[in-house]
């Protein structure tokens, strides 16, 4: 369970805080969509929850352990083993093939061989069978994003964070991504929190959080 308490985020040189005292609990296995107008602070909140950014005030607690008490190395371990990210841009490494990209987190964990079988299964699940030795440049935008999802899931993380994962895709490809999320949430129990602009995609979540002017509605 992730618990955030009274989160405030203020950027230097900006008078009004982006986030104003947010409290939120995310249960294990939850499927949450984060919506709001552009500039309302969705991304900022997502990155604070996911350890990449730090709140100005407030606490982020993973399974009753406060992130403030984590050593740097423990944060890296947490990201490596328990957290998967999908961004609006796919951020694939151009020099690596599809399968090598998927196995990158396993490389950090020194589990490349252990995870190879699962990586191939993921390739099949995200519909990239036969394309595992292609480079990202040889894949379509939709395929690249599906590859990024496979990479985020290769360590079988407890949490998956996605910031507008369908933002650059057409509705058909967007739907494929959302179905994959749903599938992983239902079959693997992965806790998923995603930011989206799309009303239909937001509605697919079990829970919808609406951010308005830095507070939860």
């Amino acid at each position: 369970m992730i618990e955030i308490k009274n989160i405030t985020k203020r950027f230097p040189n900006t008078p009004v805080p982006v986030l104003k005292g947010i409290d939120l609990k995310i249960e294990d296995g939850d499927f949450v969509s984060l919506v709001g107008k552009s500039g309302s602070g969705k991304s900022t909140l997502l990155y604070i929850i996911s350890t990449l950014d730090h709140p100005t005030e407030g606490e982020v607690i993973y399974d009753s352990q406060n992130l403030k008490d984590f050593e740097q190395e423990e944060i890296y371990q947490l990201r490596n083993h328990n957290i998967g990210f999908v961004f609006q841009f796919h951020y694939l490494l151009a020099e690596l093939t599809a399968i090598e990209n998927i196995l990158l987190p396993a490389r950090k964990a020194k589990e490349v061989e252990k995870r190879r079988g699962f990586a191939m299964e993921l390739i099949r699940i995200v519909g990239l069978e036969g394309k595992e030795h292609r480079f990202p440049g040889e894949l379509s935008g939709g395929e690249q994003q599906r590859l990024a999802i496979a990479r985020a899931l290769v360590m079988e993380p407890k949490y998956l964070f996605a910031d507008e994962p369908t933002g650059n895709l057409d509705s058909v490809n967007g739907k494929i991504i959302m179905d994959l999320f749903k599938k992983f949430n239902e079959e693997k129990g992965t806790t998923i929190i995603y930011v989206t602009h799309d009303i239909d995609f937001a509605a697919m979540a079990r829970r919808r959080i609406n951010l308005v002017d830095g507070v939860l509605e």
Partner: protein
């Protein structure tokens, strides 16, 4: 991170190859030039150190000056129309026994050889040539120098202890137009000329020695000079030739004789070596500098181009250290590979050079081949320079990569 480092290097083959080439050429040039220069230097140095004495003690050539004349006090009522001047008559070591005692007791002295060195005129038929003879006891002389190694015919021992037998440089023999077993006339100018039989020849490769030096026995030289039992020089060999100038300095304090270390007598040659070293080092430094800047530039550009990759790697749990390694490895791979290929290339060039025949003379060793040094130190130095260059030029951009904040990159959409 090695896996990813290699992949990134391979993705920019042209750039990587260019830098690799720079480092390779740098280290190969260092090996080849050092091999050539040091080979030459060691050979010459060996001759300077071992053909001659490490320290030479010789009679002081006293020049009479007006001050010397002042010792005739006023009371003597001596008046000079033209005061005497020039060199004092006899050149000899005043108290050789004192020296022998001192040298026998000195733990740093390996051997010494009393000598008579004299300027002479060699005459064969109508041809005359000015040079010098060195008279010595061969057992002692052989302990002090390695002249035996340079004998072309006969043995150094053939000069014996008496009997007017002589060994001369091959060039001198040619100049005189004489041959082995022939006799020539040797004259000091002041005493009666004497006949000497040529029983051997040597060739050191140093022109001034080969063209003007002959060895005879100590007794024969003393007879020739008409100064029995006198000696003019003592050649001293130390256990460690590097100590020669310090040792000579100490002896100078307590003696009126002239004392010269091999470093002092070869000062001109040593300064040429220094110039060579400067040329060699500055050439290497400039090549390496270019290669170093190449690595630095490429990595800096790479770190900037790979900001998105850094962001995603960090979000997966890779640490700043991992990111530093990612970039640092690439510089190190170039340094290692370039250094290693450079060593091999340099070695091959050295082998080829060592097979080049050159005109007999200073550049050539025995057999008239170019003398190339294959000293392991050269190779260690070349490799160290390549690695050091790679480390220094990689660490700054690599650290910049490690300090990239993933959040900032992601917020800006990876731009």
């Amino acid at each position: 991170m090695m896996f990813l480092s290699i992949r990134q290097l391979m993705a920019r083959k042209k750039q990587s190859l260019l830098i690799l080439l720079g480092i390779t050429i740098g280290s190969a040039a260092y090996v080849a030039i050092s091999g050539m220069m040091l080979g030459f230097q060691t050979y010459i140095l060996d001759q300077l150190v071992n053909n001659e004495a490490h320290i030479r003690i010789s009679a002081r050539e006293e020049i009479l000056t007006a001050a010397d004349m002042a010792s005739y006090s006023e009371a003597a009522h001596v008046f000079w129309e033209i005061p005497p001047s020039g060199r004092k008559d006899s050149t000899r070591i005043e108290y050789p026994l004192g020296w022998f005692k001192k040298l026998d007791a000195d733990k740093d002295v390996a051997a010494y050889s009393p000598q008579v060195v004299a300027q002479v005129i060699f005459t064969q038929n109508k041809i005359t040539k000015v040079g010098r003879i060195i008279g010595s006891q061969y057992e002692r002389q052989l302990k002090v120098t390695n002249i035996e190694n340079y004998m072309k015919s006969g043995s150094f021992k053939d000069i014996g202890n008496s009997g007017n037998r002589l060994i001369m440089g091959t060039s001198l023999m040619e100049l005189l137009g004489t041959r082995l077993q022939e006799t020539i006339l040797v004259s000091t100018g002041s005493a009666q000329p004497q006949m000497f039989k040529i029983v051997g020849t040597f060739e050191t490769g140093i022109k001034t020695i080969d063209e003007g030096t002959a060895f005879v026995s100590l007794t024969d030289a003393q007879k020739l000079r008409n100064t029995p039992s006198e000696i003019t020089d003592i050649a001293v060999k130390l256990f460690d030739p590097h100590h020669a100038s310090i040792k000579a300095g100490l002896w100078k304090n307590s003696s009126r004789d002239k004392i010269l270390s091999w470093q002092e007598s070869s000062a001109a040659v040593l300064s040429v070596f220094k110039t060579q070293d400067i040329v060699r080092n500055s050439m290497t430094i400039s090549i390496i500098l270019v290669a170093g800047f190449g690595i630095y530039n490429i990595l800096s550009i790479l770190v900037n181009q790979k900001r998105r990759d850094v962001a995603i790697l960090r979000s997966m749990g890779f640490s700043p250290k991992d990111i530093i390694k990612l970039f640092f490895n690439q510089g190190m791979i170039l340094g290692f590979l370039g250094g290693a290929i450079g060593l091999i290339l340099g070695f091959v060039i050295c082998v080829i050079m060592s097979r080049i025949e050159v005109i007999p003379g200073r550049m050539s060793g025995p057999g008239n081949y170019m003398i190339i040094s294959f000293d392991i130190i050269i190779y260690i130095k070349a490799f160290s320079i390549a690695i050091a260059t790679a480390i220094i030029s990689s660490i700054i951009p690599a650290r910049a990569g490690g300090q990239l904040e993933p959040m900032e990159i992601i917020r800006s959409g990876g731009q």
